[in-house]
Symmetry: C2
């Protein structure tokens, strides 16, 4: 994988990732395809929308369908019939989010959310699985501590993340695949700095900022990210894990982040909320009942070019899943257009203008957690 | 609307319907779009699949979103963005399937399944609504009695159906819209004959056979249909309401029926059953877990050209709705191809061969009721 920084304005960067499955312009937003599908969308929907890269969850796919089945298809691209880049997480987020039976430096024993059985996850296993999945970008296995962890707990998780990063790098030999390291350190500046320095010392193809956007105050998210970015090399991509609302993206692009992922647009769509150039729109609200307008008149997606708000309101009102399908198409399209406009703003030295304009519509600073996996 | 019989082999007919929204080759299968959408499919999916005409339910649309909303869109075609022909039922099936507060010659007072309120339905209202919906083919308002009704009850429903057909015709003045009459008569030959004669005497653009495929023995379905068809004019289309499994279609095309509708392919798809040229396939069955085959190797649909059984099995296994989307695309495609092959068989004087071959795979004579509305 190659990464090129094309332009920098302040800390904000315009870049290009070159992967075996094509190029990705950064800053980029990656929709989440937990179970080898972005919920309700076909790969051709994603292509039409202009999605350049999707995320899939290693841990989920390891349990179901299992690596053997994906291997039969020659990897995840063949399995889900998506020919553009894929990034897989490592299972480290599940260390945070799933019940654990045991965790030590060796690895984690999870209770499988599918059948309650024990699953022993190690850096080596995570690498092995991601190599079989054949994702373009793989993530080192990390220990993501909860946001309310003490300094002592967080220090332990951070040190473990370093050890696991070393083992991940050692075990990883995916041909043509890139491996990103993950910086942890919770909400503690000293640990964030320590983690960034340690992870960078190992040397990865890119660096992720993990363990944030988990419910902490937004200012802390920004500060921690800023601190980490200071310790990351200029010539490698920076990926903020599990965050992707427009306001968060704007703030973090400004602080030098290149890549984002979140279930935000897809989950909101399924609940009837559209993202528009004028902010969020509750499609289910009664004022949309008679509206002959599209969801967003500036949007070029299939849903907006074809249907009225009234029709989509009706589908939601009647519990018709087609409403969710159409709104998912729209919201992912919006994120693609939003990132395109954001990149254009950097290119034309208008990032601050773009940011101010968008924050008028997206400044609710939601503390809702939109994780890196679809539930 | 014009109807042309192109070829007849025995009683089986090859025909062409010309409507304001395009031509329909018969025998035809119509997918059901109860709430102004064929569940999980966009209009462009339907177009790609090659669907020529869809059915929508007048009663449902009258309640939600209501005629006024559809009128704002210039009719149902504009509302659901489907530019090919639409057939609407009249609400008569709901006389059979919904709780009634009162029914007499004037009309029916229903308890709304949406909010429990009273809805007074009459032939005049049904016509008024269908004229606003702007469907290419409208149905006269009828009284569909239950399959276990006595001779007396059935006679009453049949006589009422005649009176309502007269009133429907009188009230109907939809420009460019066709109006079909409905023959009732339950399982009683004398009443079927009486109803057919009466309805034909009024004069409609086509004739439907209602009140069958409601759980009665298959032989009775066939016999009643045969009896009714004997009393229908040769030069008008014949529509069997609410039945559309391949075996039923084969038996009834042989007896002179031209049009079918059913939720059969769409509902089966949502439950994980595929229709294939080798019979039904349970996609959820474990023997599909590792199959790299498409659902049906003879099928040209997007799902079959793109995905393995293994992948679709995985989607169902994980409760991903995309599995239902893909299988719905496939099953509706199968029905379109099945009808195409059936028409070709009539054209090439090979209907009996085609029928025998298909009945090897579709002869389970299911007594399951696949109604004319999606639930």
């Amino acid at each position: 994988m190659e990464f090129e920084v094309i332009k920098t304005v302040g800390k904000a960067r315009l870049g290009k990732l070159r992967t075996p499955h094509g190029e990705v312009e950064t800053p980029v937003f990656m929709p989440v395809g937990t179970n080898a599908n972005v919920k309700l969308l076909t790969p051709r929907d994603l292509e039409e929308i202009g999605v350049e890269i999707v995320l899939a969850n290693t841990f989920h796919l390891m349990l179901k369908p299992g690596v053997e089945i994906v291997k039969l298809h020659g990897g995840l691209h063949g399995f889900m019939r998506w020919n553009r880049p894929i990034l897989t997480d490592s299972g480290g987020f599940q260390v945070f989010s799933l019940p654990k039976i045991r965790i030590d430096d060796e690895g984690v024993v999870f209770k499988s959310p599918l059948d309650g059985s024990s699953v022993f996850m190690t850096p080596e296993l995570s690498m092995e699985v991601q190599m079989v999945l054949g994702s373009d970008i793989c993530m080192a296995f990390d220990h993501c501590p909860p946001v309310n962890a003490s300094h002592e707990e967080t220090r332990e998780a951070t040190e473990r993340t370093y050890k696991w990063a070393l083992r991940s790098k050692k075990a990883f030999h995916g041909e043509g695949q890139a491996l990103f390291g993950i910086v942890q350190g919770g909400l503690f500046p000293d640990l964030r700095k320590k983690s960034a320095t340690e992870i960078v010392s190992i040397g990865f193809d890119g660096y992720a900022i993990g363990g944030l956007s988990l419910g902490e105050e937004r200012e802390i998210t920004y500060d921690m990210t800023e601190l980490v970015v200071e310790h990351l090399p200029e010539d490698k991509p920076r990926y903020f894990m599990g965050g992707g609302s427009p306001d968060l993206i704007l703030e973090l692009v400004e602080r030098g982040v290149d890549m984002f992922d979140s279930v935000f647009p897809t989950r909101l769509a399924r609940h009837g909320t559209a993202l528009t150039w004028n902010g969020r729109l509750n499609v289910k609200a009664s004022y949309n009942k008679r509206s002959l307008e599209p969801i967003d008149e500036r949007c070029e997606c299939y849903a907006c070019k074809t249907f009225t708000r009234s029709y989509i309101h009706h589908l939601f009102n009647r519990g018709e899943f087609l409403g969710q399908v159409l709104l998912t198409i729209h919201n992912v399209s919006f994120m693609v257009s939003f990132m395109k406009e954001l990149r254009k703003a950097i290119l034309n030295d208008k990032f601050q203008e773009f940011k101010s304009r968008m924050l008028e519509f997206y400044s609710d600073q939601t503390t809702q957690i939109f994780s890196t996996e679809e539930g």
